[in-house]
Symmetry: C2
């Protein structure tokens, strides 16, 4: 499995996703600030991976703290949490991970732990978030693979793979699980301008795994569907609202509309940490607008003339009516999503109590896999 991010006692180590697939370079973050910068500049990206990185960054920052008293330690902790929260606004996993770290801190402090003991508990929690993410991806893969026919050409957008998570992937986890079950899978990867996560990252990790992968420019997706070359779509998510609206990488919405037009199932694979019941619908999800330069240049090559304006929203919102099903580690949700998502989340609270998802458990209200091929709702 690809080492997206690793915890070491003196550093958080990440593969630099900006440099793939040309160079495999690792970045050693030795401070919380360096981790925050790595998230912001997309050394690491992908909603679940961002959550893991933030948790590790907080644990690293507190280990570096020179505070002796718990009060000063708590002040520093809050500052580092704020630093992480300011990195990227859309992926809710970031805030979910920070909340878990805050709860760990509060529980430890209330329990009378020393600064050293709190530090240790924060590290343990960051590790649990990391390991839990891999388990979630595996469980998501098992559920999602039931939706994949024995022979399938699968279109995906952006990178919802091992590189977007602690390992295995969400959308690509579904694909990996189908391949592991012996299904014959060919993947169409939309290149995903402007940051090219599909061309650079999805293709890289799938080719490494020996999975048949074809890169297309994003604007070819419609043509491929019209020619009958796509059996289903599976993508990840950065935030899923309570009503099932899905914020994901820019371009996802266009793919979803095209899938509906062609009667092709459109699946979203995401851990429960991506579901935000506090956000009623997609219109309330903040959409990050990133630097013009991501659009105007590829490497040193300038693409656009001076004087042209640029738009660069990093995400879009796909209304739930385009979403055939949402695949989570605890089962598969279908419309009406207000009910199915709330049931999934509640079942987690009952099952785990701690707030940590109980990977793999299923709820009959939501249902596990059904065979693929159904029309859009």
């Amino acid at each position: 499995m690809l080492p997206t991010i690793e915890w070491r006692s003196d550093a958080v180590v990440m593969i630099d996703q900006r440099k793939l697939p040309v160079s495999e370079v690792y970045v050693f973050c030795k401070t919380a600030q360096q981790v925050a910068t790595a998230i912001k500049t997309m050394v690491i990206r992908g909603a679940p991976a961002i959550g893991v990185a933030a948790a590790m960054g907080i644990a690293l920052g507190m280990r570096r703290s020179k505070a002796t008293g718990t009060k000063q330690f708590a002040t520093e902790f809050q500052k580092i949490c704020d630093l992480m929260a300011a990195t990227r606004p859309t992926a809710v996993n970031l805030f979910w991970a920070i909340e878990r770290m805050k709860k760990t801190f509060a529980d430890a402090a209330q329990g009378g732990c020393s600064v050293d003991e709190i530090t240790q508990r924060l590290e343990d929690e960051a590790r649990r978030i990391h390991d839990g993410d891999v388990q979630s991806c595996r469980a998501m893969g098992a559920h999602g693979a039931t939706l994949v026919p024995d022979t399938a050409r699968i279109l995906t957008h952006c990178n919802a793979g091992a590189l977007a998570t602690a390992g295995y992937g969400t959308a690509l986890g579904v694909i990996r699980a189908a391949v592991e079950q012996g299904k014959t899978i060919a993947v169409l990867a939309g290149e995903t301008r402007p940051f090219l996560q599909g061309a650079r990252l999805t293709a890289w990790e799938l080719v490494k795994d020996g999975i048949d992968t074809t890169v297309i420019t994003d604007n070819m997706a419609g043509s491929m569907m019209r020619l009958g070359d796509v059996d289903l779509v599976v993508v990840g998510a950065d935030r899923i609202a309570a009503n099932g609206d899905v914020a994901n990488k820019i371009g996802t919405y266009g793919v979803a509309v095209l899938a509906k037009e062609h009667g092709i199932p459109f699946y979203v694979a995401a851990p429960l940490s991506t579901i935000d019941l506090n956000t009623p619908d997609g219109s309330r999800i903040p959409i990050e607008e990133r630097h013009d330069r991501e659009v105007t240049h590829v490497g040193p090559n300038r693409l656009t003339p001076e004087g042209a304006r640029i738009r660069n929203p990093a995400f879009d919102v796909t209304p739930s009516k385009y979403v055939t099903a949402i695949i989570t580690e605890r089962g598969i949700a279908r419309a009406p999503y207000e009910e199915s998502l709330a049931a999934l989340m509640m079942s987690g609270q009952r099952a785990a109590g701690s707030g940590q998802p109980a990977a793999g458990s299923r709820q009959p209200a939501v249902g596990s896999g059904r065979p693929a091929g159904g029309r859009q709702q």
Copy 2:
């Protein structure tokens, strides 16, 4: 007006569209082979411009001929026509222009012209094709501008501008005409991967003309429409079948589906030389598949890993049901296109006889401009 292509007695001169917007470099083609290579490698591109280039290339090739007898001259002529016909398969304007040159040759030969006289007539015809294209674009602009509200945000894809024609443009001609009429126009230009005609060419020529232009990646189009930032779409075409199906730059189909989903008018602007009544529907239009490298690299920068397959169809087909109207130099056609397009073409034969479009004339059967804002058919 931008000098896309110019005829000189010893060369066909073109701006190198591969190097825009960073460098403004001119290519001097001194042989028919060099013109053919320029078309193939996209020094010049855009259906009408390809037609003009082919005609000039043929005229240049015949001027260079050392043949003394008409028989040898005719053999060389056929070879050069075949050379041009083999450059690119989709844009029908190429074949239309070659047919015009062939008719000119045949008429002159039948009329007992000498080699020198035939050469002169071929040059004259190439010039007429060039000048007629500019007139067509102006007439198209006048018709099309009637469809544009006084204030409009217009999405276009690829480059159907001055650079795609002998000057002024088809889709961008409509935009230019609306601006000249004092309308308040803001243009959204899809960057148009992989060759980036939107980012590089459309933005360049619109910015030069002082028209408000924003470049987006192709996958942002859906989001812009959903946010209410697009009032209408206008694109060019490489071939329009008898039933109104439109072959145009890859990605056009996706934009058309999205426009329909949002109730946004989707217009196609193209000269009659792009309409191919011999092709009954879009399924019969040959779609050129170009080199992988256009997708795998931007300049020297490699985007995809080794081992990933690539698809690179240069065009797609938009079924006529997504097309609100087709804007030509002779009026605006609407569904049912079998009738309206045939009527437009026939009216041209009546009006001009020679096969040369009579720019600006209108046929009541087809109708001229109607105010924009109507829903898709």
